[in-house]
């Protein structure tokens, strides 16, 4: 296993990035010089890194570093709110389209890339309706197909056994951890190309967290996953690649083992050892 990545070296004073990747393994998407502005304020500064196909990529960093902003840029969630601007590219493969390009319809992206949010947010409907939602939105209504996918997604989310007898009951009857797994099933049902997880366990207790981490590792060989987490140990446990961010910049990107045992950047080192953040 050769460490073929060279991390992005950046002088925080300048904005000239140097990106030079030799990519190790197939890549599902490539973030290239991505900058993002909330109105006048720049929240992402020239971020570049690869997202490997069917691997788990973790984004870590102190709060305010831009990791959630970056994640939400990938499925164009920022477009829901006015005054936001993207610069740079996020190329999705194999289509080779620029996710953040103005010519690309955000809805198209969200039909390919799913998201699970920090606080579980099931719809005020039944469990079945929640999981089927993504299919109905895509015009897939054939009952046998939908039933199959719902079952499959709930199994993938490790929730099937717990809810199979009460699919038609309200999703709000589930516990927090179960609701989050439901949201994961909901995102999985339409078989997305990529799954974005925005601190999926920060609102949950340790046991629910452990279950979801297990679930993520089981899913990893089938779905490309990008996960934002403020919990370093979680990143170390479940991800293949880790990106450390600070103040809107991508400080270092590498295979997880390398980041945590021999980080190249001083700031990464400081964060990992708990000097700040």
């Amino acid at each position: 296993m050769n460490i073929a990545e060279r991390s992005v070296i950046m002088d925080s004073m300048t904005q000239a990035p140097i990106t030079d990747f030799e990519i190790d393994g197939p890549v599902r998407a490539r973030v290239e010089n991505l900058s993002f502005f909330y109105g006048e304020k720049q929240a992402l500064i020239n971020v570049s890194f690869p997202i490997h196909d069917r691997k788990v990529t973790a984004l870590i960093g102190p709060s305010g570093c831009g990791k959630s902003t970056l994640l939400r840029a990938i499925n164009r969630m920022h477009d829901l709110y006015p005054g936001n601007r993207y610069q740079g590219q996020v190329i999705l493969f194999p289509e080779e389209i620029n996710i953040v390009g103005p010519e690309v319809d955000p809805m198209l992206i969200r039909l390919k890339i799913g998201m699970v949010f920090q606080k579980p947010n099931p719809f005020p409907k039944s469990i079945y309706d929640n999981v089927a939602a993504g299919l109905w939105v895509r015009g897939i209504r054939k009952k046998s197909l939908v039933d199959d996918r719902v079952t499959q997604a709930l199994k993938q989310a490790a929730l099937w056994d717990e809810v199979k007898d009460r699919l038609r009951t309200s999703a709000y009857g589930l516990s927090g951890g179960q609701q989050q797994r439901l949201c994961i099933a909901r995102a999985l049902a339409p078989a997305p190309e990529m799954l974005l997880l925005d601190e999926p366990t920060s609102a949950l207790d340790p046991i629910a967290t452990a279950r979801i981490e297990e679930l993520i590792m089981e899913l990893a060989p089938t779905v490309t996953i990008v996960i934002v987490t403020h919990n370093m140990q979680q990143a170390a446990r479940i991800s293949n690649y880790t990106a450390f961010m600070h103040l809107g910049q991508m400080v270092e990107f590498d295979q997880t083992a390398a980041i945590f045992t021999s980080p190249k950047e001083r700031r990464t080192q400081d964060y990992i050892t708990g000097r700040f953040g």
Partner: protein, 318 residues
């Protein structure tokens, strides 16, 4: 650059056929979206059309009216006798009736409303508020005809006991009833404004040793000033536009209203009177209802716009 390879599609995708949204579906969805947003826009734009229609009709008929009647006469004449042989069209007559009832109404509703709003916002506990606000809502829901009946058949006789020369049709009783009618509106808007004043200001006052009353008077009301003024203006606008109570209990006498113990016609009561009658549709007298309506519309428009601006202002502050 490095090569990019993609592994074969995963098992979850191929075994269930196409799960991507078909192009046909996406096209259909896009078309539906366009059609829907067009109709939704039409619905919203209807409100502009309504205002335009109101303005057009009132202005058009008023212009026809003013072809025959000089605007100077209109504004300065002191009699309003459109159906007479030699008709007179002094709008001041009707306006004075409207203003008198509005004034009496505000005399009742402004103090009562302010006191009640302060009480609800600063003194009352949660349960009291949960009981009082619905009652005020129920009060606001009573049909105006019912208030008219109440004014004429219940209140006027009672008032006549205490005020012997109160005539059967007068302006005092309808004025008071109008005050009761606009009370819920004033309380609702003013209390909203007072609650919008942040607690931190109140705490500062209490920490200095202010009483509740002093806090209310010196901190909350000044802080909620624009909202409270907006409440008064809205109440005034509603009082000016009130029709049935005055049509029933204030009489039809079109004189300049100086004495509230006597009846007088208001703008609104006059419109009702003509609408009920046999005035031919092309006559000058008929056009007068539109001129009266225009006067009414302009009055309430001014009050409403000022109130709107004031409410926007206080919402921005906090």
């Amino acid at each position: 650059m490095a090569t990019v390879e993609l592994a074969q599609a995963s098992a979850t995708r191929t075994s269930y056929g196409r799960l991507v949204a078909s192009d046909r579906f996406l096209k259909r969805r896009a078309i539906t979206a366009r059609i829907v947003s067009f109709f939704l826009f039409l619905a919203a734009a209807l409100s502009v059309f309504i205002t335009a229609a109101i303005v057009y009709i009132l202005v058009y008929d008023s212009v026809l009216f003013f072809k025959e009647v000089s605007i100077v006469d209109f504004l300065t004449d002191t009699e309003w006798t459109p159906v007479f042989e030699k008709p007179k069209f002094g709008i001041i007559t009707l306006v004075s009736g409207t203003l008198m009832t509005t004034f009496i109404g505000l005399l009742v509703a402004v103090p009562a409303g302010t006191i009640l709003s302060i009480y609800l916002s600063e003194y009352a506990g949660h349960t009291t508020r949960e009981i009082v606000k619905p009652i005020l809502e129920l009060l606001a829901g009573v049909p105006t005809v019912a208030f008219g009946y109440f004014a004429l058949f219940f209140l006027t006789p009672i008032f006549q006991i205490f005020i012997p020369n109160l005539s059967g049709f007068n302006l005092l009783v309808p004025g008071i009833v109008i005050g009761v009618m606009i009370l819920p509106y004033i309380v609702s808007v003013a209390e909203d404004a007072m609650r919008a004043v942040p607690d931190s200001l109140r705490e500062g006052a209490f920490a200095l040793g202010f009483t509740r009353f002093q806090t209310a008077a010196r901190v909350v009301i000044p802080g909620a000033f624009s909202g409270v003024t907006a409440a008064y203006l809205l109440g005034m606008s509603r009082a000016v536009g009130e029709t049935m109570v005055v049509a029933i209990a204030a009489g039809q006498q079109a004189t300049i209203a100086i004495n509230p113990l006597e009846g007088a016609a208001t703008i609104t009561a006059y419109i009702v009177q003509i609408s009920l009658g046999d005035v031919p549709h092309n006559s000058l007298a008929y056009l007068t209802i539109f001129v009266a309506g225009l006067t009414l519309f302009l009055m309430t428009l001014v009050f409403n716009l000022i109130a709107f601006w004031l409410r926007k202002k206080y919402r921005e502050v906090y």
